[in-house]
């Protein structure tokens, strides 16, 4: 079973969590990214995610392999939605299990941060006023002289377990 997956449909996080169950693991941390109703002062009504699937799957597996290696995780999974999503839906889910809680928290955090920065996945927001825009792209196109690949992205969602999460 692949450790990183793309899903066009909602998925059952309980099944994913059960897939990480392991008698050698003393800690498990999960993160859910949720579709939020606002971004940068605008009311968001729905989202679309687009992925370059072959590369997203390849890079996603690399990220999870790095997290397992770096934090000694006993297991890790990540699922990212693609297609149209409604408010409140889970856009991305990460689960990490490890012998101890610190590795689980840190491994989980590493995976979500790398997923946001590295995977070829794009988010189009649809706004209440009927307008829409690709997150992180529109400002580039408007002001190319200021562009760079890294932008101050926004974050959404909440950890489903309390953790040592620093502000990005």
């Amino acid at each position: 079973m692949n450790a990183f997956r793309l899903s066009a449909d909602p998925f059952d996080t309980g099944v994913l969590r059960a897939g990480l169950a392991d008698p050698g693991s003393g800690g498990y941390a999960a993160f859910e990214g949720w579709v939020r109703d606002h971004n940068e002062g605008r009311r968001v009504t729905r989202l679309e995610y687009e992925a370059f699937a072959p590369l997203a799957l390849r890079e996603g597996e690399r990220i999870i392999a790095e997290a397992r290696e770096r934090f000694g995780l006993s297991g890790a999974l990540c699922v990212h939605r693609i297609g149209a999503l409604a408010l409140g839906e889970i856009a991305v889910w990460v689960g990490a299990a490890a012998p101890h809680r610190d590795e689980a928290f840190r491994g989980c955090r590493y995976i979500i941060d790398e997923v946001k920065h590295r995977l070829p996945i794009w988010k189009k927001e649809h706004y209440e006023d009927g307008d829409s825009g690709w997150v992180n792209c529109e400002r580039c196109a408007a002001a190319p002289a200021l562009g760079g690949h890294e932008h101050a992205g926004h974050r959404h969602g909440a950890p489903s377990a309390p953790g040592p999460l620093k502000q990005a």
């Binding site: 070829p120 190319p144 690949h149």
Partner: protein, 287 residues
Amino acid sequence: MTAPLHGLLLTGGRSRRMQRDKAALEYGGQTQLARAMALLEPLVARSFVSVRADQLDERQRTGYACIVDALPDLGPIGGIHAALHAHPHAAWLVLACDLPFLDAATLQQLIAGRDPQRVASAFRSSHDGKPEPLCAIYEPASRALVDARIAAGRLCPRDFLASADAALLELRNPRALDNINTGEEYHTARQRLEAAAPAGGASAPRAARTLQVQYFALLREQAGRSAETVSSRARDARELYEELRARHGLGLEPAQLRVAVNEDFADWSRPLDEGDSVAFLPPVAGG
């Protein structure tokens, strides 16, 4: 955030020892100005020729975008100063116009080794170990330091880089930055270059290749398609993007994108082969 990279060819020098405009010297029937701009253009978002105010209407410079020295007679640092002020958000790959042996691989090495967190990135001279200031990348943060050096009357760009927090790279091709100061050196260089590249040499036209191109997100919308098959003579991914950017009016600069070849991330300088699939990736926003 990494600043977009622009190119600047310095041609405002007085060439006192040569007593001829070095940019106008020809190698294999092409002026050094045209040769250097052809090397720069595929590697940067925009490229410019740095000129003195009295050079603006010279025939061979027309056709290239120019940046005129704001402060006259300061030498190379004056050209760098004008560029940093004309486009303060850009980083500048600055080139002297007396480097006939400069090759694309050396520029690609500089770009790959660039450290945008430093004031500048430059090669260590293969002659004296000091920074080479006239084949170097100057980040936007260098502007205030250049201003201060000029205000203090310290105009030597090599001293500036030696005192600044510049990233220094080892030249893979130790002769790439050999420069030309005298008529005799020009004669020797020309013989060497023309012997190495008879009958067109590196500039001979290459065959077109059939490539599969994919566009995503904003680029897909701007191109009006998610994929296409193109026939292109582009040598690498960067040239291909520039070609397609012009054809489809794409609004993003290469510095804002990543490129994938055959479904994995690749360098912009990756040579393209028949049948390769190339994907241009706008800034991502997963999660």
